[in-house]
């Protein structure tokens, strides 16, 4: 299903960060949000999840208006979120983190098995507390936890941050698998190389305002937009 942001404005308390932002993430594509630090990329993901109240506008998944629901209902519609810094439940075990992922949606043991097959290393660490995992394993767990929702839309906030190349490659493979499965993916990523490898389309955000949305091919040919909105 297509996720649509229809002129959303949001912020933290009285401080407005997003201004009338409209975007669309289609099934089976990776839409990358690009912009400088503080442009509003993470805020956009939080607003989609309902973790920030909207000042105006709507978030729609197909015909369902996510922004009219309480925040805890949003994941039940298949919106998986992998936040920046992973935000695992650090004192819970790997098995318990996965269990939390299965609470809202998914098909219990079947989904759990599927996810553990994708990340076999987690199967060896099920009884280990999340805080004792390496950075790469923590990212695997954060991804596995979100995939437990059997998502139709996946929001990834800087998933390759601080990871070694082998882990980045694993994340890329996972994104490819999800895209092939028809999941709409919104990716916030600072590493341009990762953006050019993973994204189908790129949406630029500047000071909370939506700017150009272009196919990644355009960026590969012409880096002027990167210079304009990201300063690279």
């Amino acid at each position: 299903m297509t996720l649509r942001l229809d002129g959303i404005s949001a912020g933290y308390g009285p401080v407005q960060v997003l201004f009338d932002l409209s975007l669309e993430a289609r099934p089976g594509e990776v839409l990358c949000l690009l912009g400088r630090n503080g442009a509003g990329k993470t805020t956009t993901l939080k607003a989609i999840m309902g973790l920030l109240p909207l000042m105006s506008g709507r978030v729609l998944l197909g015909a369902a208006e996510l922004s009219a629901m309480p925040a805890h209902e949003v994941p039940k519609h298949g919106i998986g979120y992998i936040p920046q810094g992973r935000r695992l439940f650090t004192e819970l075990t790997v098995a318990e983190n996965i269990e939390v992922g299965l609470l809202a949606r998914g098909r219990g043991a079947e989904t759990r098995e599927k996810v553990l097959t994708m990340f076999p290393r987690l199967r060896e660490r099920l009884s280990q507390r999340a805080e004792t995992l390496s950075g790469g394993e923590q990212q695997m767990l954060a991804t596995a936890r979100a995939l437990c929702l059997e998502p139709e839309v996946l929001l990834l906030d800087e998933p390759t941050e601080g990871l070694q190349p082998s882990m980045i490659s694993l994340i890329r493979d996972t994104v490819d698998v999800m895209r092939d499965a028809g999941v709409a993916i919104i990716l916030v990523e600072q590493r341009i190389e990762a953006v050019l490898n993973l994204a189908d389309r790129v949406a630029f955000i500047e000071n909370g305002h939506g700017r150009e949305v272009v196919d990644v091919e355009v960026l590969r040919r012409d880096k002027a937009l990167l210079q304009k909105y990201v300063g690279i």
């Binding site: 309480p70 805890h72 994941p75 439940f89 819970l92 269990e99 992922g101 609470l103 809202a104 936890r145």
Partner: protein, 308 residues
């Protein structure tokens, strides 16, 4: 009586206090740990439990055990229900803001206390224990004829006091199993660790908060049901358990269940022993001093985690 038997008696008295205190403080610790709410009204839920226990026990005819069992079911439900109402009507509306909830729970404290005074009255009333046989305890000495066992006069306890210690231990273990093994326990722990991410995974945090606030009050009420056959129910009885619970959760580490239980045993036993040998006031002074030392040298408590 000799020092040895006297000390054992003091430890037994302290153990009863520690058992009840562990239950009461666990409720306070749970509410703070998960909701980050300093519940100043916690002692009033304890008092409410005691008063409801008296009402239920005196309105059921027959063997005192019937009234006691009914009270052990009804009092936690009533206190928990009142707490859930308080959460929905008051705490939720101030968005669980830490400072606002302190003022709000002070308000809840006075409402419950004054309602108790208006309906129950100012008298202290006892609840009959379900059983209360006296058990004489043996002591020993090495006399002229060698090792001798005898029963010193006044050296004993009651079956009910031993029951209080056992029942509290069973409830604590049961609660630990509930938190660590059940799905609701998992939801509560996830909410404690990261409220926002819990929401992002479909956990209705405000409902979890209501449940936790209700459970915290129910634990205090259950502790009161256990103690009310030993102490009497009175509308001002909530002050001491509140003070001691705060002492316990600060020493144990705010939000740490293990720390709460260890600190409750420590404070309960020392309170019992110092009260028997010296005075209850000195026991409170020493406990308060201990809190001051913990706050200065280990502000996160004995088992609490240092904030990152």
């Amino acid at each position: 009586m000799e020092f040895g038997p006297h000390l054992i008696l003091a430890i037994l008295e302290g153990a009863v206090g520690a058992a009840v205190l562990a239950l009461t403080a666990l409720g306070l610790s749970l509410v703070f740990g998960i909701m980050r709410v300093v519940n100043v009204a916690h002692g009033e839920f304890f008092m409410l439990g005691a008063i409801v226990a008296w009402w239920v026990a005196t309105s059921i005819a027959g063997h005192p055990a019937l009234g006691f069992v009914a009270a052990a079911v009804v009092a936690p439900l009533v206190a928990g229900g009142v707490a859930v109402l308080g959460d929905r009507l008051v705490l939720k509306r101030v968005h669980y803001d830490p400072e606002a909830t302190i003022v709000a729970t002070i308000g809840i404290l006075y409402i419950i206390q004054q309602l108790a005074l208006m309906t129950y009255g100012p008298e202290a009333r006892p609840v009959e224990p379900p059983f209360n046989s006296r058990i004489a305890l043996p002591w020993f000495e090495f006399g002229e004829t060698g090792f001798e066992i005898y029963y010193p006069w006044g050296f004993g306890t009651t079956t009910y006091k031993l029951f209080v210690i056992g029942a509290a231990a069973v409830i604590l273990v049961g609660f630990w199993l509930f938190l660590s093994r059940s799905r609701i326990g998992l939801v509560m722990r996830a909410t404690q660790l990261d409220r926002e991410m819990a929401t992002a995974f479909g956990i209705p945090v405000s409902r979890v908060y209501s449940l936790v606030f209700g459970l915290g009050a129910a634990l205090a009420a259950l502790a009161a049901v256990l103690i009310v056959p030993i102490q009497q129910a009175h509308y001002l009885m909530g002050g001491d358990p509140l003070l001691l619970s705060f002492i316990v959760v600060i020493i144990g580490g705010l939000g740490s269940i293990r720390g709460t239980i260890v600190a409750a045993v420590l404070i309960g036993l020392s309170d019992g022993i110092i009260s028997v040998f010296f005075s209850p006031t000195l026991a409170k002074i020493i406990a308060t001093l201990l809190v001051a030392l913990v706050l200065v040298f280990r502000p996160q408590g004995l088992f609490g985690k240092k904030p990152a």
